[in-house]
């Protein structure tokens, strides 16, 4: 790394990557692990645990991945390391 600004940028990049991955791992596996509790309620004809695992989680991941790309682009530009 060339200077402190770039060091700070990499630190924030690492934090963003870790937060995104850890957050989505939890979001991905939690509904399955607590499905027994959630399935007492129904959404759109599905038990809640099933609804979250099959419908909501993939949608959350899709939104999160686009949000991540936008956040990372902002980070790159803010620290003047972007490709443009």
């Amino acid at each position: 790394m060339r200077d402190t600004s770039e060091t700070a940028w990499w630190r924030k990049t690492r934090q963003l990557a870790l937060a995104t991955l850890a957050g989505l791992c939890v979001v991905g596996v939690l509904p399955r692990l607590v499905a027994g509790l959630l399935d007492r309620r129904a959404v759109l004809g599905l038990p809640l645990g099933t609804f979250l695992a099959v419908v909501a989680v993939p949608l959350v991941m899709l939104i999160a991945i686009f949000a991540f790309t936008a956040r990372q682009r902002g980070l790159d530009r803010g620290h003047h390391v972007s490709e443009d």
Partner: protein, 607 residues
């Protein structure tokens, strides 16, 4: 300007193809309504679309190396996302996922979440850094980062082992579907598929693979989404099957209750999030897929075809969107099929079973009372001996292979014959796209990343191109041979693509970007350890007794749960035991991480 012209080219191609495909499908549907036989419908639709695939591939032929290997690094992220999705959907997701929801919902939920996480890992951990490195493929990337010949050799070995059987399996599926659609023999179908892959990939490389992948995605998406959407509209007045399949599950459960008989619990009538399997299997599948999908060589190398790191990251996001369009509809197939089978078939007289039962029974996909449902007589013969037989079909008598569910769905949904041809064509498009992408990844890994980097040979760009093309033909022919000679072996080993990528490549790839202290020796140790352990567990699954200490119970897919941690341990341990990487090597890592500036490997150097 170049970006706009590239987007325009792909946009025009997609629009023209989509319009022509829709018109042809509509005309054939009309002719089918007026009595054109189903086999003629399938032959005309299949023949026309396969000819279009071939023509688009040949039209994209190129002699420029950057076009051949990288599509000139000018693809817009959505186009690259479509090509990425087409390269990985294959028969596994197109045919297999809905079948998994039908047969083993726990596995299907894990597969859905694992694939989504895989694209997230790709976007977060690999894609931008891979693009910034300027590498062409996984082997090249690891070679650039770690330096030395051993890393390239070890990575090329994994790429070859991981993707070859999967290529052959995709070709088996493609040949079976071609034979079904065109009404030709299995041997001729293998020849047709081989010729199609060769003409579309060998002359145009990534440029041709991308253009054909885009139109293949249009076909597979239409084929997957149209039938299930029609049923959702017909049954629940909603054009969104992804949000209405819960009502079909509820109605199926009500039918079971209303029947007042001790019917077998329907596989889709219970909570899918808790059905079958344990937490360990679920977590192992999710983790293996997340790591394996992100490390798939033919997916990762697509990051090299866009203009910069940010676009590579966005390509992965678009890729997830296009994969999700398909996999989000998979549970609807299982739910609607289950509900309609219960409503239309179960509890009816066996003499009145619909024709599709016997069509798919003859393909070995449907069994009734323990025998393949090849005819009414065969079914009656098997069921009449059962206790409490009434002459009607009980739900517990019917057993359907998940693999056949999507192909049988148009008949189960009572849709016209053109829908059956459309679904078979969609599955064919998915398998062709995957086979091409995987075969090219292996050829490029050896022809460019390995042979092209050999200092003692120092081949010219033209020679590398010839070698890669010859290798591509050889790989496709070898895969065709395996597809014809031992299709069961190809199918059994196909899931190893994801498992071996996760077990052997993932640790070296993660450490390459995120740990500067990782050394070439560490990377080689990690790759080989992951390969041996994951490969050993896969072979133990196929050949019981292969491991001296007894079976550990991993599947082909979850074997990486053994290989991946040990791969990490070996890579980290050996790296710490070796001298730290030189300043120059650590500078390469900095350059790969930084989005701005020139790629580490300039195309002129590499070619």
């Amino acid at each position: 300007m170049a970006r706009r012209s590239s987007a325009t080219t792909y946009g025009r191609l997609a629009t023209l193809f989509a319009v022509a495909f829709a018109i042809l499908s509509a005309i054939l549907a009309l002719l089918g309504y007026f009595g054109l036989p189903a086999n003629v419908l399938g032959s005309v639709l299949g023949g026309a679309v396969l000819l279009a695939f071939g023509a688009i591939g040949i039209n994209a032929a190129t002699m420029q190396t950057s076009e051949f290997y990288l599509a000139a690094r000018a693809l817009p992220p959505p186009v690259n996302g479509i090509a990425s999705a087409a390269a990985v959907i294959s028969g596994t997701l197109f045919l297999g996922l809905a079948g998994s929801y039908f047969a083993d919902a726990n596995a299907a939920v894990a597969i859905t979440i694992g694939w989504c996480l895989g694209f997230v890992v790709l976007a977060v951990c690999f894609a931008p850094y891979f693009r910034k490195s300027g590498a062409f493929g996984v082997v090249d990337f690891l070679g650039v980062r770690y330096g030395g010949r051993a890393v390239r050799l070890a990575a090329a070995l994994v790429v070859g082992l991981a993707l070859f059987a999967a290529t052959a399996a995709a070709m088996v599926s493609a040949a079976t579907l071609t034979a079904l659609l065109l009404g030709i023999s299995a041997g001729t179908a293998v020849a047709v598929v081989t010729a199609l892959i060769v003409v579309t990939a060998v002359f145009g490389g990534v440029r041709a693979i991308t253009r054909t992948a885009m139109v293949e995605y249009i076909v597979l998406a239409a084929a997957f989404l149209v039938p299930v959407t029609i049923v959702a509209i017909r049954e629940y007045a909603s054009p969104l099957p992804q949000l209405t399949f819960g009502f079909a599950l509820r109605d199926a459960a009500l039918l079971v209750l209303a029947s007042g008989r001790d019917l077998a619990p329907p596989p889709t009538g219970q909570s899918w999030a808790t059905a079958g399997g344990g937490e360990f299997t679920f977590l192992a599948t999710v983790l293996t897929l997340a790591a394996g999908v992100a490390s798939l060589p033919h997916l990762l190398m697509r990051s090299a075809t866009v203009r910069g790191p940010d676009r590579a990251r966005r390509s992965a996001a678009w890729g997830l969107l296009f994969v999700l369009l398909i996999i989000a509809a998979a549970p609807a197939y299982a739910a609607f099929a289950h509900f309609l089978i219960l409503r239309e078939v179960v509890d009816g007289p066996i003499e009145n079973l619909p024709d599709w039962i016997f069509t798919f029974g003859n393909l070995g996909l449907i069994r009734i009372c323990g025998v393949e449902a090849v005819s009414v007589d065969a079914v009656l013969g098997a069921c009449s001996g059962a206790a409490g037989f009434t002459g009607n079909l009980a739900a517990s008598d019917l057993s359907m292979s998940g693999d056949g569910l999507v192909l049988a769905a148009p008949a189960i949904f009572d849709l016209p014959a053109v829908a059956s041809a459309l679904v078979a064509l969609g599955a064919l498009a998915a398998t062709l796209a995957a086979a091409k992408a995987m075969a090219f990844a292996v050829a490029s890994a050896i022809g460019h990343d390995l042979y092209g980097s050999a200092r003692e040979v120092h081949p010219s760009a033209g020679r590398q191109l010839i070698v890669t093309r010859v290798l591509l033909v050889a790989i496709v022919l070898l895969a065709a041979w395996l597809a014809s000679d031992a299709p069961d072996v190809a199918f059994a080993l196909a899931p190893a693509a994801i498992s071996l990528s996760a077990g052997a490549l993932f640790p070296a790839l993660i450490l390459a970007v995120w740990w500067k202290r990782a050394t070439a020796n560490g990377a080689v140790a990690g790759i080989l350890t992951g390969l041996v352990v994951t490969g050993g567990l896969i072979l133990d699954r196929r050949y019981p007794g292969f491991l001296p200490f007894g079976r550990l119970g991993f599947s082909e897919l979850t074997a990486a749960i053994g290989g991946m941690p040990l791969g990490f341990l070996a890579a980290i341990g050996v790296s710490l035991a070796s001298e730290p990487p030189a300043e120059e090597r650590q500078g390469i890592v900095d350059a790969i991480r930084r989005p701005g500036g020139a790629p580490f490997v300039q195309e002129s150097e590499s070619l």
